[in-house]
Symmetry: C2
Subunit: 198 residues, 2 copies
Amino acid sequence: MTKSLPPFDRLVEQFRRLPGVGIKSAKRMTFAVLDMPSEDAQAFADAIIAAKAHISRCKICGDICEGDVCSVCLDSHRDQSILCVVEDSRDVAALEKMREYHGLYHVLGGLISPTDGIGPDRLLVRELLRRLDGKVKEVILATNPSVEGEATALYIAKLIKPMDVLTTRLAYGIPVGGELQYADDMTLFRAIEGRRKI
Amino acid sequence: MTKSLPPFDRLVEQFRRLPGVGIKSAKRMTFAVLDMPSEDAQAFADAIIAAKAHISRCKICGDICEGDVCSVCLDSHRDQSILCVVEDSRDVAALEKMREYHGLYHVLGGLISPTDGIGPDRLLVRELLRRLDGKVKEVILATNPSVEGEATALYIAKLIKPMDVLTTRLAYGIPVGGELQYADDMTLFRAIEGRRKI
């Protein structure tokens, strides 16, 4: 390749918009597309369109799903009295992989972050409050232990306070298999603070 | 996300086929597509189709280009007496970036690799020999200094030998800015072997 080829550059630009993809990776990916048989490139393009067309947000919890309501919200065997509030669908996937949580979820679709101009109105907070209609006895605030995650959890906890609902937060401390000497100060502090009687 | 969603999984699979993309990156990229506005996802899919449709191989040198013949082969100002033989288009891009080489190129489209079942017939070797019609005075074999690159260079050098063409190979040695103590044995050997009078 000697001069810039507009269709090449446009595809490089598209790949660069993906998370974790720099200019070199984007070029490598573009060459990979050019090396594919035409059917494979078509299948790739179709998969993008299909994912966008067939996957939407659950009308109840905000998680991604096919159709209007996700399988967890439709499942009457799940514990309807516990709601686990998370930042996005990836967190639901992580918690489901564990197979130990049987309650419902609520996906906020982000975290409150004034520096990025994201206020509570951009998240599904109103939808969360609407779900607290008496059946829900506990809300687990499972946002990440970051500045934004803590702020969002505190904000929601304050809103829920007047209601007759138990509000909990995940335990933070040394990860299982981790080592004390490599833990950062904040994690150690949380581990000491949250110590439990054995 | 609680259960596997076929359109989601299909897009993850497509991303995984790209070089350097593992399962975690592929999922992250799929979520990024879901978070895009529909127009952006459409533009991404269109860019894949367009790159595949509008970029082809130059009929003369095998480099990627728009149209039948690439801009280098069409450029009468380039030195028609030197041909630089490279593995693929990325090598042409690297050499052109330098702006010091003004001859022509020949892109093999791969390297001879018996373990991968790639013989000389899978590369544009016949097309290279056809270009050595008397006008070309020098062929620079600029394949990578790998086992396959060396084998391919030697194979082509042997084919060219009976013709009245100077065959050269790039200089290999310590990279500029590199340090002797970090160079591998093979590179050091090449640097000693290729030493020049100052």
